[in-house]
Symmetry: C2
Subunit: 402 residues, 2 copies
């Protein structure tokens, strides 16, 4: 891999609603002051045809590559841990998402806590932070808000849309809500629905937060935050992101913290200290109301409804008619989105006649592999992204493979 | 199977400590007023050689078979759900644990909330319930307290000790702490240590309870109980007990309860309603301080320390020297105690030269199979239990198999 992408990056902001043009949420609410925080890498070509939109995962941000030391207005929440872009080894000159060729865009989700409008934003009607009064955000809202960002940037059609984990669910939404606006769809370690197991673990996280003594229905700004509740939510999800062997290995260096005295239980093992430490570290950089919104959008994920169709086969026919190509990655040790989920996605794509490439990488890191092991993804990502450019609209033909 | 065991059963109580003979906990604390609640089925023979001790699982009780409509002093906590013995299809005339041949004993764990001394008991020093001041209970304490119960019943040596889930961990403790007091060890859907995954899910449950606004460090008696925290703990564990397909199937009949309005999130799926309902139902019949104690003993499970040895092979050598036979069951769909865990237990038994039979049952019910499908366990349980009786001390020889 090339050396780290160390240059500073700036967060940009785009208004995606105004008093004359309010944004209408799927839940029916309308707001006319909405902003998305986003970041771009590389240069948009003259034809405006080389843009790639990247969706981040649950706790990520628009800061995908390079170093960003501050975001106006975020102060304490933008901890040192956030300064390095979460996909830096994937985005840069000569990398999988090659900034010498492509113009990469990544935006913080609507409802987020890293600069996009969300529960931590000021409600102009009250002069206080929205908190629970910010409208419910669905994955369809996230995708529509980012389509407005593309309008703002003057990009009619994306070269590709790329997402891992929940970001992968959003690529499915994008492809089927705005089929004419994208060519290649890349879904990494993701799926096509919210499985029962995911529903259970995400619902547990909702209750963990809402039952925190400081949550107060979401009106906790100005007082203590629901820290243990959010930490517990993070612990519940962390165990699905990281392979258990890795947790055990990482925990070996962890001392059993005598300061981790809970109300009655005394932490007795380094694995417990490690997990609690992960949870507490996360709390510093994330907002519980935003976390709940992302849980909510995950639990209510419904790409059929968002695309206005009734059956799965109709969903993927949209992709076929638009001439999409799909690239789907599985991680063999993933137990956040199990390999079976990607297999089902690919099966449905194939049944609908959509060209789809399905690559399974072997990793001992579990779901997190997509953040940590660029070498497992780069060749196929680079190949599929370049192939699209070189073939242009004749991409459908396999003869055109370089 | 024979018809349900419908006759009424009574809870008995045994004092296992007195001012002259205090019980010393592993943590160093001493109490001189301790009671175990227990139940017996069948008749102890003249030689006092036909007794079987059954350990219950996490949320179980001493009420293993038949109908028990009340337990003195428990009132509301002894809900209708508790009235049927949790192992009724396994214990009775002609059943796996045949009450025509054997004398079955099951005791509520020390620290429990179904009649044995625990956090809900009155502290004679204060006249109030112990709450968090009841000493920490280890699995070694549970086993030593039940050995005292055997003394109380005049039973020197058990025919067998039987336990599933956490109860299986206790059989390992019993066999290696009191090797001369048992012949056959039956461990069902259990293991030999607390795995990383178990540690994570049990630790999550601890935090779920301790972070409840009503927990107040465990001093919640007289006020509202930490209900949502305990319900969340139950939900976290329930998903490891019941196969996901079963959860999905059972949830189909569940309406999305509009009454399940949490602080912000609106329950949106019958699987969520179902799980919340399971959690809330559990809260009515269980005490959070007892739940924490059982989590604590699970997290600190250390059979080597309890047996006073340093290495695993020494542990199982104890079993070999005592002439134990082991019968180990795995459930192929279990993801509370994974089949790999029983395989490791059996491997270690074999390496130590302990005769062990390992049976894997196929079930679609997950861990809970051991409660629900007696036909999968009965033939081997009945065979191993009878074989022991018929062979007496010559049991070691395979020639003696009937």
């Amino acid at each position: 891999m090339s050396s780290p992408h160390v240059f500073p990056v700036e967060t940009k902001f785009a208004r995606i609603a105004s008093p004359g043009q309010p944004f209408r949420f799927g839940c029916g609410a309308e707001l006319d002051e909405l902003v998305l925080a986003y970041e771009t890498h590389g240069t948009l070509n003259e034809e405006r045809s080389n843009a790639i939109l990247v969706f981040h995962a649950l706790s990520g941000s628009h800061h995908a590559s390079g170093i960003c030391e501050e975001i106006p207005g975020l102060a304490g929440r933008w901890t040192a841990e956030c300064h390095h872009g979460w996909w830096t080894p994937f985005i840069g000159p000569g990398r999988a998402l090659d900034t010498d060729r492509f113009f990469i865009i990544c935006a913080n989700y609507l409802g987020g806590c890293y600069g996009s409008s969300g529960p931590t934003s000021l409600n102009p009607a009250t002069g206080r932070q929205y908190g629970p009064d910010f409208p419910n955000v669905g994955t369809g809202d996230v995708v529509r808000s980012q389509a407005l960002l593309l309008d703002h940037l003057g990009i009619e059609k994306l070269h590709a849309v790329v997402g891992a984990s929940i970001g992968g669910l959003l690529t499915l939404n994008f492809a089927t809500m705005f089929p004419e606006r994208v060519r290649l769809v890349v879904s990494i370690a993701s799926g096509l629905r919210t499985t029962v197991l995911t529903r259970l673990t995400v619902f547990e996280q909702v209750i963990a937060i809402e039952n925190d003594p400081h949550f107060r229905g979401g009106y906790y700004y100005g007082g203590p935050a629901p820290e243990y509740g959010l930490a517990l939510a993070r612990m519940i999800s962390h165990k699905t992101f990281v392979h258990l062997d890795s947790i055990e290995r990482r925990a070996r260096g962890e001392l059993v913290q005598s300061g981790d005295q809970l109300a009655w239980y005394r932490v007795g093992h380094n694995v417990e200290s490690y997990m609690l430490h992960q949870g507490k570290k996360f709390v510093k950089r994330f907002d519980a109301n935003t976390y709940l919104r992302i849980c909510d959008m995950w639990l209510r994920f419904d790409p059929l409804e968002d695309a206005g169709v009734q059956y799965s086969h109709e969903l993927f026919s949209i992709s076929r008619r638009a001439g999409h190509h799909w690239l789907v990655f599985s991680i063999d040790s993933d137990y956040c989105f199990y390999p079976e989920e990607q297999a089902e996605l690919v099966k449905q794509l194939e049944q609908a006649g959509v060209p789809a490439m399905h690559i399974t990488v072997h990793s001992e890191k579990g779901h997190d592999s997509f953040l940590l092991e660029p070498e497992l993804y780069t060749p196929h990502l680079a190949y599929s992204l370049r192939r699209g450019v070189e073939c242009g609209d004749a991409w459908e033909s396999d003869d055109a493979v370089p």
